[in-house]
């Protein structure tokens, strides 16, 4: 077992059962998929600002391709970038070393879940090679649009012609990805409950471990109806059943219920690990105990439970019962209370702290600021059905959505990445390049979406390929200008990611060697070598205290590791 390091490239990247290697595989795969998601958004944003012809690196964009790119951009960024980075990478890499154990409870299951995830990536991309082209009906896959050309509606098709379509491959890819994340989730929860080091009681777990586990449980309990719905939709496409066919007694709205019963908790599944990592970082770099640790956990559990009963706020314009819409509005607005409590805890942690502005801290603060002040506040507006009915099909929703998920996945994800990079690679990242990357990303991210808020309030509809075809669709010079600002900002945002890529590959080979505990943090992962050896600890730590004993009055140093008596 100890000779593990001598294994070659193939063994490390394809067959290793070590949780750190599997986490790294997830990370590389997610970065690979993010390249697709980023390229797609570049192509269709360029089209919206400067027209569909002669897009650099792409060529001409047809309306159908526009729909396909928008659909796959959404799906890739949520299911193949957000989920693996925030659940699988953070969970795989951090849970075992943070709770002080050698590996996952089921290492083989962990490996299988990665393989299934990789397969789902290929199935999704294979959708682009189908004779009908990739799926272009929106990442929410609403029927009847997602079924209309196939199954019962098209008697000329057979099972196999229906099978080799973008729609089928898209559904199969999403289903495989869910199965992979379900297996991973079971593994994380069992590992956390069963493999904690001596003395690591539940109330001594680092916040991010709590968050990943709550997110996994939430995922497991919300995804079932969507898997059931996916079976039904798949059968509608493949063999022509009538589950969502209004003529046959099916109800397309039922799909929306099944989808959003999962879809809304999904946002929190992504948010929780990210906000957990941000909590770790804020506490470490403020050199203060996390303010209201138990309260944050309680708030998050309440928010997770509430998130299961707010889904219909995505359907205010789908013709649901107005009485029900009022109830869902109320519940949606109530859910902001636990999140406000959580943000308050983080601000309380920062209050009068000895703040160190290291790179991860900037990302964490950027995440907290944009998520709360733009994503959260506009969420309050959209949660109210009165406003939502006007804003729902406009760019206001797009901007709101990206202000919740971009900070969650990318700002929070990069915060975690810069923070734990020394641990997983054994080297420090270049700070100057990190700061350039942060400010480039942060400024251009805001200048993409603030114009879109304004355009949305002006009434610019979403999901439209070409505004110039209708002169009444906001073709005034200021509207065109706003679209161009957003697009140019997006191109700069993407260019700044190359700074990160360079920094990543340069630092992993040639960066400055990292010590065991470069950030002077308390949690267990900083008590072992960087990178941790196979088996992580020798000897295994015994936990004496909670993870946030910064500036403890009885201690000389301003931090006190969890394993210190």
């Amino acid at each position: 077992m100890d000779t593990h390091k001598k294994h070659g490239f193939w063994h490390r990247y394809f067959f290793s059962l070590d949780h750190k290697d599997i986490g790294f595989q997830y990370l590389l795969t997610a970065m690979f998929m993010a390249a697709f998601g980023g390229f797609f958004v570049y192509v269709f944003r360029y089209n919206l600002a400067f027209g569909p012809n002669d897009i650099p690196l792409y060529g001409d964009l047809a309306a159908k391709q526009y729909n396909q790119l928008v659909t796959n951009h959404g799906a890739i960024m949520i299911f193949w970038v957000g989920m693996p980075i925030l659940l699988a990478v953070i969970g795989n890499f951090l849970i075992p070393i943070m709770i002080g154990t050698d590996d996952m409870a089921f290492p083989t299951l962990n490996k299988i879940s990665y393989w299934v995830f990789l397969l789902s990536c290929f199935v999704l991309l294979a959708g682009f090679m189908m004779p009908t082209g990739a799926f272009g009906g929106g990442w929410t896959m609403y029927p009847p649009l997602s079924v209309s050309d196939f199954g019962y509606n098209n008697p000329n098709t057979t099972f196999w012609t229906n099978f080799f379509t973008g729609n089928t491959f898209f559904l199969l890819a999403v289903a495989l990805e869910f199965i992979s994340m379900l297996m991973g989730g079971i593994n994380f929860v069992v590992t956390t409950l069963n493999k904690r080091a001596k003395g690591m009681s539940l109330m001594r777990l680092p916040l991010v471990v709590w968050m990943v586990n709550i997110a996994n449980l939430l995922f497991m309990f919300s995804v079932g109806p969507l898997i059931a719905g996916a079976f039904m939709l798949l059968m509608d496409i493949l063999v022509g059943t009538g589950f969502f066919d209004a003529y046959r007694g099916g109800d397309p709205i039922l799909w929306q219920h099944l989808f959003w019963f999962f879809g809304h908790p999904e946002v929190y599944v992504l948010l929780l690990p990210s906000i957990g990592a941000v909590g770790e970082i804020i506490s470490t770099f403020s050199r203060k105990p996390l303010f209201g640790y138990k309260m944050v956990i309680l708030m998050v559990i309440i928010a997770a439970i509430l998130s299961l009963v707010v889904w219909a706020h995505h359907q205010f314009v789908s013709g649901i019962d107005p009485g029900a819409a009022n109830i869902f509005s109320l519940l949606t607005i109530i859910i902001s209370i636990p999140f406000a409590g959580m943000v308050l805890s983080y601000l309380g942690t920062l209050w009068k702290g000895n703040i160190r502005f290291e790179t991860p801290m900037l990302w964490a603060l950027g995440m907290l600021a944009t998520f709360t002040f733009f994503g959260g506040f506009t969420g309050l507006h959209l949660g109210s059905n009165v406003f939502d009915i006007y804003a729902h099909d406009t760019y206001f929703v797009i901007a709101h959505f990206h202000y919740t998920l971009f900070p969650t996945v990318f700002l929070g994800g990069f915060a975690a990445f810069y923070y734990w990079f020394p641990k997983f690679s054994g080297r420090m990242m270049n700070k100057t390049l990190g700061l350039i990357h942060f400010w480039g990303t942060f400024i251009f991210f805001n200048s993409i979406f603030i114009p879109l808020f304004w355009l949305g309030l002006q009434g610019q509809h979403r999901r439209i390929y070409n505004y110039s075809a209708w002169n009444d669709l906001l073709m005034q010079p200021e509207h065109i200008m706003a679209r161009q600002i957003a697009t140019v900002s997006l191109i700069f945002l993407l260019l700044f990611q190359f700074v990160f890529l360079f920094n990543f590959f340069y630092s992993i080979k040639k960066g400055k060697k990292a010590s065991k505990n470069p950030w002077e943090a308390n949690t267990l992962e900083w008590q072992t070598d960087s990178p941790p050896p196979h088996g992580n600890f020798d000897p295994y730590p015994v936990v004496q205290r909670w993870p946030y004993d910064y500036n403890h009055p009885e201690k000389e140093l301003d931090y006190c590791p969890q394993s210190e008596i």
């Binding site: 019962y152 069992v190 995804v223 079932g224 295994y540």
Partner: protein, 201 residues
């Protein structure tokens, strides 16, 4: 290396295999729950579906319920034998369980062929063509739910067979219990499906 092994941290309040299986079962119940709720919503909306439900074969369904319940009893006996590490008894009871699974599948195939013979197909195209468009979706649910359950029966039987091979060689006795938990779940789902699809008119 040995000292490392000794100090390996685990809490082990609940054996981790059992805990993992419980979580899997919880996940499975939400999946079937989604299907059942969708079915019930349609069922309450369309009175025509009651007539369709009367075409199901209650006697064959009842036989299958009895077969599955019996198989669960055998799994419990196998679990008891596993606690005594009695390989022979384990092999016998698990074999009986797998036999029950096979009987279940044979009855299921008989039922399916009867339905298809009467023109009640999965896609329901034939019914829709004869003017019963709304009724046709009932059979979609019937075949999807029972088919998905039958797939679980097949998977469960395969898992039990693999686990039995281990027990025959005298190792991994605890896996009998975990595979047994899965089998009870398969049984329990059928207990929900049987009244929903067959009995309620």
């Amino acid at each position: 290396m040995n000292t490392k092994q000794l100090l390996k941290p685990t809490m082990k309040d609940i054996p981790q295999g059992r805990l993992g299986m419980w979580l899997l079962i919880a996940g499975e119940f939400v999946i079937f729950g989604g299907l059942m709720v969708s079915y019930l919503l349609y069922r309450m909306r369309y009175e025509q579906w009651a007539e369709m439900a009367s075409h199901t074969n209650v006697i064959l369904g009842a036989i299958n319920t009895f077969v599955l319940l019996t198989s669960s009893y055998f799994v419990v006996k196998a679990h008891q034998a596993a606690q005594r590490k009695d390989s022979k008894k384990i092999t016998m009871y698990i074999s009986l369980t797998i036999l029950c699974a096979l009987i279940f599948l044979v009855v299921k195939i008989t039922e399916y062929s009867q339905k298809l013979h009467h023109g009640f197909t999965f896609s329901g195209k034939e019914l829709a063509a004869s003017g019963k468009a709304i009724e046709s979706s009932y059979w979609g649910f019937y075949f999807l739910m029972t088919g998905l359950h039958a797939t679980h029966v097949v998977v469960g039987a395969i898992v039990l067979f693999i686990v039995m091979q281990g027990a025959r060689k005298g190792k991994n006795y605890h896996r009998i219990e975990i595979a047994g938990l899965y089998w009870h779940m398969v049984d329990l789902i059928w207990i929900f499906l049987f009244p929903l699809l067959y009995i309620a008119h």
